[in-house]
């Protein structure tokens, strides 16, 4: 891997939103790699850490809006796990901002693009910082 963005996308929301982006002919950075999951609650800490180990620039968990999870607590648990992964990373001196949880619905393609672009901008900014150091 070489600086890709890995996004675990809940098939009820983010995955469908990503499809809509393509259908509308809109774009997001090519380095995004989507892994489809049945619910954000399926994504575990080890999945995020392994992706970073393999060389991902950032790992995102994209789930349903708060209060909309078909499984009630899947997105809430995912958020907790992302938060915990963040501390695991910070503990060892890695930028915790490289993991993130975002909520969106299937009919929110623009939110999907916004999330990916923002994350990508952050990555670029960090690269610039590292270069200047």
């Amino acid at each position: 891997m070489n600086g890709e963005i890995i996004a675990f996308c809940c098939e009820h929301s983010a995955y469908a939103a990503a499809d809509v982006v393509g259908k509308q002919g809109l774009h997001y950075p090519e380095k995004l790699r989507v892994i489809r999951v049945p619910c954000a609650g399926r994504v575990d800490i080890i999945h995020m850490l392994k992706a970073l180990e393999e060389g991902a620039a950032a790992v995102l968990v994209l789930g349903c809006e708060d209060g909309l999870c078909q499984h009630l607590t899947g997105n809430v648990r995912a958020k907790e796990r992302v938060k915990y992964s963040e501390t695991l990373l910070t503990e060892v001196g890695i930028d915790g901002g490289r993991v993130g949880m975002f909520n969106l619905a299937a009919n929110a393609p623009h939110k999907f693009i916004k999330i990916i672009n923002e994350v990508n901008d952050r990555i670029k900014e960090r690269e610039r910082e590292n270069d200047s150091r």
């Binding site: 990503a18 999951v37 619910c39 399926r42 999945h47 209060g67 078909q70 607590t73």
Partner: protein, 542 residues
């Protein structure tokens, strides 16, 4: 059996021009375990189906990767096709190279497309078939609550041929509406007769549900009545209704002060004689914006009745008239045309006793004036509240209530009548503030949902989509505690070992348990740890 994989690449009629398909094929062909890589044009059409069929029939493959449009379009159909060709649909892995690759980017995306396919290949290598099997279920339904809603649900279920047991806390059926005279009570009487006559409805009065174990298709329900009963039901419908209350904080409910409830007013209206006709009557409702439909309907109907029977001066004080139910706007107009006066406030009025009468001190926002009215009688807002025992039953069922304590969490996926547990339903006012039209829609919905979940005969389920490995399970109960659908139970495997078992009927396939299991004993086929990690590992390899 060694993996032998067939890969179908679809170029969508040759339109995905930013992907170099021959180059993709070249890269894939060199991988291990690959039987063939085909470039096809229209996999979604009949010709595509033929292409897949002929290849699968001749090549003896046991894994299939299809790189095409979003799974939204053809996943189900591809699965059905594989099944027809005697390949388990669980052995199929898709790569979305159209919506999420070719269409989402400008310029050449061959590399990304190849990677997405490699991810699907990595996952496919580890896929296992998921067999489907028939399971027997109990089709009998328990309806809890013998009021209008529960009785009507039982009757309609029985008309579809579903055996029903109706359990009621009180000694008789009928609920609240039975107390009323006229139209409703005669309807209720007719319903009670119909239920008593129905062959497939069993009535249990003076009995209460005290325990629910098990899962859809086999809920073990404990009931306490004259004796303790333990029975199995396929589904449970709760129609436990509501209670109403006049909030003492809003109204000075002292003896001698003429403030009465809507229920009391109905009794007065039904009484053959009246001690003294009230000259002026005030109604007050919608003090809090909460659950407004119920008090609005009661107020409009009763204000009209008072006007028509007693000819009193009628004033209605409210924040907003809640007309968002069918026919209520018309009722509101009728009341105004009949001379009922409506006064709207933003600040709650002051209500005080005034020498046997009641003084209402309100600021009318429309007139912009303060209005002081002394009434002979004030009819207070009856708040709609969860019925007694709702809290107890919901914790018994391990089901969440909404922010006001009614059944059913505020989650749009559950509306109208479902709960987070399959096979447990809520109808009518036990799940919130509904008018009669919506209650009736609820009743029909629950009947349809029960019929759909528990059709006559057996139910086909995926046997082991999500499975706890009894060898690895340490019975820590984590999955049982976290499963949002309460699909996990502890079962005895042999004389000394208990392990978690996931009911495929009750499971809604979210994978929360697989992620949280501290012993890594739960495998979600298709989304297992190794299958997810294989996808991660495939990224950037090309």
């Amino acid at each position: 059996m060694p993996v032998r994989m067939g890969i179908f690449l679809c170029d969508c009629g040759g339109s995905l021009k930013n992907i170099d398909f021959p180059k993709v094929r070249e890269n894939l062909e060199n991988l291990e375990d690959i039987a063939f890589v085909d470039i096809t044009h229209n996999l979604c059409l009949e010709e595509g189906e033929k292409a897949i069929t002929s290849r699968i029939l001749t090549e003896n493959i046991n894994r299939v990767v299809i790189a095409a449009c979003s799974p939204e379009f053809r996943e189900r159909n591809f699965g059905e096709l594989l099944e027809k060709l005697r390949l388990n649909p669980g052995l199929l892995s898709l790569a979305n190279i159209r919506e999420q690759c070719s269409w989402a980017h400008e310029g050449d995306v061959t590399r990304k497309a190849l990677e997405l396919i490699m991810m699907a290949v990595g996952k496919a290598r580890l896929l296992q078939p998921v067999e489907r099997k028939e399971v027997a279920v109990n089709n009998e339904v328990l309806v809890v609550g013998g009021g209008f809603c529960g009785m009507k649900s039982s009757l309609e279920l029985s008309q579809l041929g579903i055996r029903t047991t109706l359990v009621e806390r009180e000694p008789t059926l009928g609920g609240k509406l039975k107390k009323l005279e006229g139209f409703y009570s005669s309807q209720i009487e007719a319903m009670i007769k119909a239920i008593e006559k129905a062959e497939n409805i069993e009535i249990l009065t003076s009995a209460e549900v005290t325990g629910v174990e098990g899962k859809i298709g086999d809920f073990k329900v404990r009931m306490r009545g004259t004796k303790e009963i333990l029975r199995s039901f396929g589904a449970i419908v709760f129609a436990t209704g509501y209670k109403t209350e006049v909030a003492a904080g809003d109204f000075p409910l002292k003896p001698g002060v003429n403030i009465i409830s809507q229920e009391r007013l109905v009794q007065l209206l039904q009484a053959p004689t009246l001690e003294a006709r009230p000259e002026t009557i005030g109604f007050i409702f919608d003090l809090s914006d909460e659950n407004p439909r119920f008090p609005t309907l009661a107020t409009l109907n009763n204000a009209l009745a008072v006007k028509q029977r007693w000819g009193s001066e009628v004033y209605v004080f409210c924040k907003n008239v809640k007309v968002d139910s069918e026919g209520v706007e018309k009722l509101y107009r009728e009341a105004r045309e009949d001379g009922v006066m409506f006064l709207k406030f933003d600040k709650n009025p002051k209500i005080s006793a005034d020498d046997g009468r009641v003084k209402i001190d309100a600021e009318d926002t429309l007139l912009g004036e303060e209005i002081v009215l002394t009434c002979d009688l004030v009819v207070a807002e009856e708040k709609l509240l969860p019925a007694e025992g709702t809290e107890g039953l919901s914790s018994l069922l391990k089901i969440r209530t909404d922010s006001q304590g009614f059944y059913q969490e505020e989650n749009v996926h559950l509306y109208p009548v479902s709960s987070e547990r399959k096979g447990i339903f809520f109808v009518g006012n036990c799940r919130g503030d509904l008018d009669l039209g919506r209650v009736l829609a609820d009743i029909s919905s629950v009947v349809a949902k029960v019929y759909e979940l528990l059709p006559p005969g057996k139910v086909i389920v995926e046997a082991e989509r999500v499975k706890a490995d009894p060898q690895k399970c340490v019975a820590c109960l984590t999955c049982i505690r976290v499963c949002p659908h309460r699909a996990v139970q502890l079962v005895q495997v042999d004389s000394e070992k208990v392990v978690a078992e996931i009911s495929q009927l009750a499971c809604d396939k979210c994978g929360i348990c697989a992620a949280i299991c501290p012993a890594k004993a739960i495998k979600f086929e298709g989304y297992s740890d190794d299958q997810i990690l294989a996808q991660i590992e495939a990224i950037g390899v090309s």
